[in-house]
């Protein structure tokens, strides 16, 4: 079932939660709506589910216009951040709920529920109550409950948000492999870019009620379309300045401004340099490199994190190096070295770029 969102807007009082959003979610794909809080991602999901009505625009499931269709008639499964399990019912009754209200026969319900319990690896727990389960187990029950009546579309609102890191990683992997098995069109909301990239086939980055960029995780990460997306996708060094002689000046560093970003002489710009896209050397590399002092070296992760200051301590830069590279350099706090970025992304000043991207 393909889902199409056509020109959807939604206001809450004076707040514009969604501003003329259009989006196609292809059949059988697992799509992440990614954005900070207040970006409208949850509102969009709730409108797709029919839990919220759009002020303008239409929602299609396949060819069918479901805009005025109530949630119960849309044939969806919805998973809430805080599970929303029925506390007075056993696990069995929770999973069977959707089947009972749809008037399934008891002899059909039992095998279906047991099958789902096997799927979520909670066999033998059917007589327990939700309060006797851990967070991860509850969310799996919520998933089984949503899957029970074989919906055509699965919608998940921050499904991992209330879980701790370890459980979250497990459940993430589990959901991905589940999707590879049943190939249901699925949309989930998250504010965690790592989560979106790891789980989704397709990522939709949202900001202030609009879509900033959509694409596969590889595309979005390699070619962020705007300053916002670059900034949002994880740790990055940010520099501000003005374009001079067709080049952006970052400290002693001169970066030629690519025409596609539309920067004009004298414009303010924001430049982003990802920590892992910077090299450190003890020798200078011409105008593409600048001198910096090492202030701290952290070797505890999968990469070595080096904090440096360029321009007499005026310009902080974070760099990540592979352990092997760092071992040959053998950096110590106080060392004077040369840094040269392999890739710099330059955008016109952030506020302007957000406006222009719409």
């Amino acid at each position: 079932m393909q889902i199409s969102v056509r020109g959807v807007s939604k206001n809450f009082g004076a707040f514009r939660a969604l501003d003329n959003v259009s989006l196609d979610i292809p059949q059988g794909q697992l799509v992440a709506l990614l954005g900070p809080s207040g970006s409208g991602k949850t509102t969009l999901l709730r409108i797709i589910a029919g839990l919220e009505a759009p002020d303008e625009g239409r929602i299609f499931y396949g060819d069918q216009d479901v805009t005025n269709c109530s949630t119960r008639d849309r044939g969806i499964g919805f998973v809430f951040q805080h599970y929303a399990l029925f506390g007075h019912m056993t696990i069995f009754d929770n999973i069977a709920f959707g089947l009972r209200v749809r008037k399934w026969k008891n002899e059909q319900i039992r095998p279906r529920v047991l099958e789902l319990l096997r799927l979520i690896q909670l066999e033998g727990m059917e007589k327990r109550f939700p309060s006797q389960l851990s967070g991860g187990q509850r969310q799996r029950v919520a998933l089984a409950r949503a899957l029970a009546a074989q919906p055509q579309v699965m919608l998940l609102d921050e499904p991992f948000g209330a879980l701790d890191a370890k459980v979250r990683a497990d459940l993430r992997r589990w959901i991905r492999s589940l999707h590879d098995e049943i190939h249901m069109t699925s949309v989930f909301v998250t504010h965690d870019q790592e989560e979106a990239f790891e789980v989704a086939d397709f990522v939709v980055v949202m900001n202030r009620g609009k879509i900033e960029q959509m694409g596969t995780p590889d595309e979005v990460f390699a070619r962020p379309a705007s300053a916002f997306v670059t900034d949002f996708l994880g740790r990055v060094n940010v520099f501000h300045g003005r374009v001079q002689n067709g080049k952006a000046q970052i400290g002693e560093l001169e970066v030629s401004v690519e025409a596609e970003h539309g920067s004009v002489e004298g414009d303010t710009f924001t430049a982003y340099i990802r920590p892992h896209e910077v090299e450190i050397d003890r020798e200078p590399h011409g105008p593409e490199s600048m001198q910096a002092a090492v202030s701290r070296v952290n070797r505890t992760g999968s990469t070595v994190k080096v904090a440096l200051f360029a321009q007499d301590g005026q310009l902080p830069i974070d760099v990540e190096l592979p352990h092997e590279r760092e071992a040959t350099l053998n950096l110590r706090a106080g060392d004077i070295v040369w840094v040269y970025p392999r890739q710099v992304r330059v955008f016109a000043a952030p506020t302007a770029s957000v406006e222009s991207s719409s």
């Binding site: 119960r72 919805f78 809430f80 929303a84 506390g87 007075h88 709920f97 959707g98 209200v101 309060s131």
Partner: protein, 284 residues
């Protein structure tokens, strides 16, 4: 009894005060009642407590209280629902109106109800033989005041706040996502109410019903005006007790009181046990 370590000490002290308080206020006075009831001998107790007039008054008191509490079970749930779920002009006025039967001297309530429901009153007139509603009830019309219906009206009035006030906070604390979950799973409104909302508010409903019922059993002031107080027909137990006292028949009055007390206490104990059992099931 095993005592667990608590942040706030003083189990012994607080239990002591609780026992003393309940003894002085409730237990000792009510035990003396039993003592006094025995004062006239067993034969007198039996004739006072189980005379046809007394039996009729038990029936009308428990029956009318049961009906009144049950009416409020439904009406109170509806009012609580409206107050919690909707925002409309006059909502806080309506909210305050609910508590009014608590605050009024019951006699005021009784006089007000009688004025309205008497055959020549504003509401009673509609039920008279030539009234809008009364004409459908034959040549007699439907008499409200001075009949058991009048008693039910008065008891419904005074027991109104209980169900509303017990259900309101529970309904207000109900997670809206549970209803959304039910609807996403294909439940219609009725199924959502019956299978999801009702099980959550049921213990509060039961508590409210019990409180309202208990309050109605003991009600005197508002009933005597509207009841007509005919022996065997519209005489409630509290009134019969007062009548016996006015005749200086103290053993007779206490005999009636003992029967009321025993019946009320067993009923309340049974209902509380039932509600504890449903609570445990709901929170398990």
């Amino acid at each position: 009894m095993k005592r667990s370590h608590r942040v706030l000490p003083g189990f012994g002290l607080s239990l002591g005060i609780t026992l003393l308080y309940l003894s002085i206020l409730v237990l000792i006075p009510l035990s003396l009642l039993f003592w006094n009831a025995g004062g006239g001998g067993w034969e007198h107790f039996k004739s006072a407590a189980f005379s046809p007039r007394a039996l009729a008054s038990y029936k009308i008191t428990f029956g009318a209280s049961f009906v009144a509490a049950t009416i409020n079970l439904f009406a109170g749930m509806l009012i609580a629902w409206v107050l919690v779920r909707y925002r409309f002009p006059g909502r806080s006025f309506m909210d305050a109106l609910v508590d009014l039967p608590f605050a009024l001297p019951t006699a005021v309530g009784g006089i007000a109800l009688t004025t309205a429901y008497a055959p020549n009153g504003f509401i009673g007139r509609q039920f008279a033989p030539d009234g809008i509603i009364g004409r459908h009830f034959g040549p007699e019309g439907l008499k409200l005041a001075y009949t058991p219906i009048g008693i039910v009206i008065a008891l419904t009035f005074i027991s109104l706040p209980f169900v509303v006030r017990t259900v309101q906070p529970v309904l207000g604390g109900l997670d809206a996502q549970l209803e959304e979950a039910a609807s996403s799973l294909g439940a219609n409104r009725f199924q959502t109410f019956r299978r999801v909302i009702f099980p959550y508010i049921w213990p509060a409903l039961l508590t409210g019903w019990t409180l309202g019922f208990a309050r109605a059993l003991g009600e005197y002031g508002s009933v005597v005006f509207i009841a007509g107080n005919q022996p065997l027909k519209t005489e409630i137990v509290p009134l019969l007790i007062i009548t016996r006292l006015e005749e200086y028949d103290y053993p007779g009055a206490t005999a009636l009181a003992v029967v009321m007390l025993t019946a009320s206490f067993s009923l309340l104990l049974a209902i509380n046990t039932l509600s504890r059992w449903t609570n445990r099931r709901a929170s398990a």
